[in-house]
Symmetry: D2
Subunit: 135 residues, 4 copies
């Protein structure tokens, strides 16, 4: 059965907090990617690049609604929003105690070929058998 | 004379490159912020939070066009795209040898008040005297 | 009852891995600090700087024995090795499936006073009641 | 003519500063590595792993003397302290306006062979022709 979403709980580390006392915005993109890695693991897949395939990010966005602070335990939920011919689109919501802290999106593309000359390639069947768009 | 844009040259460090051999996408948001800091410095301003004012990010986006690699020297250009009542919007382009590597945007808001209870406040005049929308 | 040590399990994130396919060495210092934060939480303490007290690091070392890779689940154990008049020393061992990946140490100092003019101060009793040197 | 040392000037970025308003200690190890990359570049070498050789870190230490803050311009000097059969040792000093902020050391080892089964190998002659121990 393919899956569509995954949620991880993520405790905020001291080194992720900036001098305003809140998580530096660059970290939200990493939290989103950590949830994506967990989604792929839960689906029996592995997001790491191999000799045959890699999944570079082609776009990523976040809107920041409420700050996260040291030792907060945030919930990071990612869901598959689209599967195109060569790309996969995600939506992400990060909450703290049920309140939305941030809303994100990310698009990745499947590429094949040697580093430096990789080209987009169709999303392989073994991925489409395990990940599906959220209904 | 207010200014509208700033360009920095940024050499890619080893620790910014991921296992696919390219700069991890989370770094582009930091490069954009480094260019913003340089823009504010060039304007005689300081982006760091003070007791009175802070400038949290409320949105940031990037589209990734071409990868950056270890020791590349990228050019990061940021420009002021909008100044609203309480917010400032930027556009950012990152190039390598003239080729576009990534296109970004970021919106910040001016807030005043104690940490945890800061509220949006009008962009102060001392900022509007030094930063202006690109023409 | 004061405590002396804490262990956390830490899954390696994609963005922590460098182009050699192994965790970048700078991350081990952050893993050690994450274990320290967990130790203090378990002791009912908070390592974050407050208006009165802060705990800057004055030394940190690591020897790296075996690499960690993406999705590995490492165990990070920290223990209190010394409590001096104004400082606390830790030892840290990071293992993967029981094999030692890295051996670390860290010394922090208690400081009081305004930012920029903080001075070492005696380790407060409320800390010594909750943290004790490993026997 | 082989060289022994290199100095870079490094401006502190906002995202490198923690909630105590000072550079997070994990960054000093990265500054040291950035200076090492510059040293190798100046020597006509490249520290990045290749198919044949890689240079994992086997130890790194820092003592922290004075904090660095946002927008400070620190000088990071690295020098070759030892060249062993398979390893290279560095010393590093980081200063701000001539005052020592931190003292570091790092040891790397040359390894050859496939990822996961790389073994220490003698420091190649092409490196020893370009890097030499400081006198």
């Amino acid at each position: 059965m393919p899956i569509s979403e995954c949620r991880i709980r993520r405790r905020i580390a001291f080194h992720e907090v900036d001098s305003a006392g809140i998580v530096h915005f660059s970290w939200f993109y990493r939290y989103m990617e950590e949830a994506e890695s967990a989604l792929w693991r839960a689906a029996g897949l592995r997001i790491a690049p191999s000799r045959e395939l890699a999944y570079p990010r082609v776009a990523a966005t976040f809107e920041f609604k409420k700050p996260l602070r040291f030792e907060d335990e945030a919930d990071v939920t990612i869901e598959v929003a689209r599967i195109g011919r060569t790309s996969i689109g995600y939506r992400c919501v990060i909450t703290l105690n049920g309140d939305v802290a941030a809303l994100g999106s990310m698009t990745i593309v499947c590429v094949a070929g040697p580093p430096g000359a990789a080209r987009p390639t169709a999303v392989p069947d073994f991925i489409k058998e395990r990940l599906t768009v959220v209904s």
